[in-house]
Symmetry: C2
Subunit: 215 residues, 2 copies
Amino acid sequence: MDLTNPLYKNQGIHVVLSLFTVENGKFKVFLIKRKNQPFKDKWILIGGACYNNEDAPSAMKRELFEKTGIENINFRLHNIFSDPKRSPLCRMLAVGYIGVIDCERVKFLKETSKTQDAGWFDIEKFCDLGYDHDVILKDAMQYLKDNIFDTDILKDLFPKCFTLPEIHKAYESILNRSIDRRNFRKQLLQKSIIADSGKMENATGKKPSKLYTFI
Amino acid sequence: MDLTNPLYKNQGIHVVLSLFTVENGKFKVFLIKRKNQPFKDKWILIGGACYNNEDAPSAMKRELFEKTGIENINFRLHNIFSDPKRSPLCRMLAVGYIGVIDCERVKFLKETSKTQDAGWFDIEKFCDLGYDHDVILKDAMQYLKDNIFDTDILKDLFPKCFTLPEIHKAYESILNRSIDRRNFRKQLLQKSIIADSGKMENATGKKPSKLYTFI
DNA sequence: ACAAAAGTGTTGCATATACACCCATGG
DNA sequence: CCATGGGTGTATATGCAACACTTTTGT
């Protein structure tokens, strides 16, 4: 590798996180408003450059912590985005990750040195994000839908125990369709994605619900 | 992006292709012997650096053509490899692709400016490849096995027509297990991966076989 | 006619879907 | 006692796995 070769030099690696939640039964994505150029005043996904001493997941963890205060969550690679023009300043390859989290865990760092606002957005309402983040977000949403029944990808959405109606509503909101309650329960239990914790909800509403955990 | 920041500078993007074939019923991978440091005299997968005006698939196409003379094949992303120490000279992120091809199409460029030998290797016999290519190749093999029944990932292995016994043998070799002939045929036809071409093999052996094509 | 390889169909099992009633709690 | 919402089981359909005989050709 000859790093002075203009064919190669000035490349970089972005990590980009599509961070999702379900809040009050609504599927949402976390967006940040940029303070500086390029894409000043545009909303974008969480992301940033990978340092030379980090692998991509470590960079993603660091960026997430810097921008939301969140630690210890799981990511999944969904795709890479390599269009040489995707970032205007220099050639940056983006590595796209997905995370799904309990919205309560996010400290709202409304303003930082690089950002002027941040928050959860209804998934139908986002549009015209900065960089190529529209494309990245759509790809992430599709990946999430395709993998929601085969993995514990929602594990961090419910950090502790949860009731079946809660997680049922989360699935319906993410997939944007209704799902039969009885079959839903059987499916998740049979595939060993969740398990009965033995505990019961504090009777707050009507009939108390059982509490489940991810395995 | 401040490209003089030592945290970011001197990064690069590798594309790496695990190129597979099935030759005489044996599952094989294409390897190249390096002529120069680093990893001089080691065998490695096809790969190289991504230029600033290329997206990753274009870079992969170019590298493949330079090293084997092959054009017009399909790749699939299987993973990325981002360990900052994976390449000794500078920080290179690797984008791993898979291709499966008719071995007849490879012109053997035994020697080039960067390589001193090249060829197909039995999949059981490779060991101790340069860079982290052992890890990449294992990941690619697993991805291929996981996706072989759901996609046309073998499309380029049979550029024209093929008989069912031929493709059956290819599947068995890749998966390293025997598969029931009747169920195999039903599966591929039902999933619309292959279709009857209407033509018949030139009766060369015993009973002539039907010829199929990928859809 | 026989050996070698290709073509084909049925049955049972497992998984997924559709669907309706009972139960516990709070008011 | 009634309204609300949570818990449970069964019957059907669909997809997957196991399995054996017939057909064609060359010798």
